[in-house]
């Protein structure tokens, strides 16, 4: 994987969200950390084109996002924070099936892929369940399964554990650690990123630190314990 951010600026009428961001992401496990409103969620949404930069470009595996939106979205899977706002059909199998229809025209192929993906995440028994009866953790795993069933080459997760209890948070992190695809993980909880290759710290629209998880922790302790406006 190579994701390049080239001098990205992003502003809306009220404020500047991202300021002069240039990055080259190649590692297998990348963490993005920052406070609420820092711009971390916006940063990763540039990768699959959910937001567009005011200036600059984002290139994913050689594809310019603004020119190849459909292709890029095929290779980038995105899991969001709220489990309820990702599953769109009332029954688990229906949701996964609908997403797979364009890729796998044969119903049997889809059935097989869905069962296999659910089993991989340990939720095969949820196949026929009604979504609104599931717990938050179960829903999030279903959302992850729906994305993984499309076999993305890159996976982005935006605060996927924030609304989960401890048990499901650990389960999700365990699943993430075993994924073959490169993963970009956004969170405000440094603990979750201990085994990651690289951690980007975002503050007020800029990358203020870029290094190993250990370095990020040290940086955080020094800089983020001060009130806003002071320090870095």
């Amino acid at each position: 994987m190579i994701i390049n951010f080239n001098q990205i600026f992003l502003e809306n009428p009220t404020r500047q969200i991202l300021r002069d961001v240039s990055l080259s992401l190649t590692e297998s496990r990348i963490g993005v950390i920052g406070a609420n409103g820092s711009g971390k969620s916006t940063l990763v949404r540039l990768i699959n084109g959910l937001v567009s930069p005011t200036a600059g470009s984002v290139v994913v595996n050689g594809l310019d996002v603004s020119q190849n939106l459909k292709l890029v979205r095929q290779l980038v899977g995105f899991v969001f924070q709220n489990p309820d706002n990702q599953i769109v059909f009332p029954v688990v199998s229906e949701d996964l099936d609908f997403g797979l229809k364009p890729r796998l025209p044969n119903a049997n192929d889809r059935h097989f892929r869905i069962k296999e993906t659910l089993a991989r995440l340990g939720i095969e028994k949820l196949y026929e369940r009604a979504v609104h009866e599931l717990s938050g953790g179960e829903k999030q795993l279903v959302a992850l399964a729906a994305v993984l069933s499309l076999e993305p080459e890159i996976l982005i997760l935006d605060e996927p554990t924030t609304q989960l209890d401890l048990r499901y948070r650990n389960r999700l992190m365990h699943i993430v650690s075993r994924l073959k695809q490169p993963v970009i993980f956004v969170t405000h909880d440094l603990d979750l990123l201990q085994d990651f290759d690289r951690v980007l710290v975002v503050d007020q629209g800029q990358i203020v630190h870029d290094g190993s998880p250990r370095q990020a922790l040290d940086w955080y302790v020094v800089h983020m314990s001060q009130p806003m406006g002071q320090g870095a």
Binding site: N61, G62, Q74, F78, F80, V88, G99, R103
Partner: protein, 230 residues
């Protein structure tokens, strides 16, 4: 001897009725849904144009009889029916007062006939069959509006998915209002409901776009990516 004959007669009657019930139900259920709905539209128009009270009352009686036969529940649940009966009664009284007794009865029998016909169609048509008809009718329109059928399917699925969520949201808003000591009234509830709903809209839009649901997708390509394996 007499009692034996009587019970035989009763048994025969029972079998005939059962047979009639079953046959009628089967006939109606096996009719294609589109046919039944068209028939309903035709009959509704006919009822409305009909003015002869003898004809109307007979038709109404027939429809009610058919409806009663087709029902699976034995008893007519008065608890469920009384609001309907009441509203029909009110209309009858109003019409009688305004245009005379005959017109009152005309209106009443019309309403009864219409309602019983519609109920019969509903009872003999499965939801799936109904949805098929909806799909068939909507598809040519969707082509006009440049919306592909997959998006329509997504729309229906999403709507059903969201129903329990909206009920849950209502309860959440009510609890939040109560916690704040605000009296729970419709106008206090609506603004928070709407704000939460509109925020949810953005999240759902992103999730749907990210997975490209309902879109026509190009054949999957494998990009040249040196992925680092763990």
């Amino acid at each position: 001897m007499n009692t034996y004959k009587l019970s035989l007669l009763n048994r025969l009657r029972h079998i005939c009725r059962l047979g009639l019930r079953r046959t009628l139900r089967q006939v109606l259920q096996s009719m294609p849904a589109g046919f039944k709905l068209l028939g309903l539209i035709f009959f509704s128009t006919a009822f409305i144009l009909l003015h002869n009270i003898v004809w109307l009352s007979s038709v109404a009686l027939v429809m009610v009889w058919v409806w009663l036969i087709v029902r699976t529940e034995r008893m007519v649940s008065w608890q469920k029916m009384w609001p309907l009966a009441l509203s029909f009664g009110v209309i009858f009284l109003y019409m009688a007062w305004v245009s005379g007794l005959q017109e009152g009865f005309v209106a009443l029998f019309r309403l009864i006939a219409l309602w019983a016909a519609a109920q019969t169609v509903m009872l003999t048509t499965s939801t799936t069959a109904m949805m098929q008809v909806v799909e068939t009718v909507v598809t040519p329109f969707s082509k006009l509006c440049r919306a592909n059928p997959a998006r329509i399917a997504l729309l229906f699925g999403l709507t059903i998915r969201l129903m329990p969520l909206m009920v849950q949201q209502w309860h959440e808003v009510r609890e939040a209002q109560q916690a704040r000591g605000v009296k729970v009234k419709a106008h206090n509830m609506l603004v928070p409901m709407l704000v939460r709903t509109l925020n949810r809209a953005q999240a759902l839009t992103d999730a749907i776009d990210a997975r490209q649901l309902g879109e026509t997708v190009q054949p999957k390509i494998q990009t040249h990516s040196p992925s680092a394996h763990r």
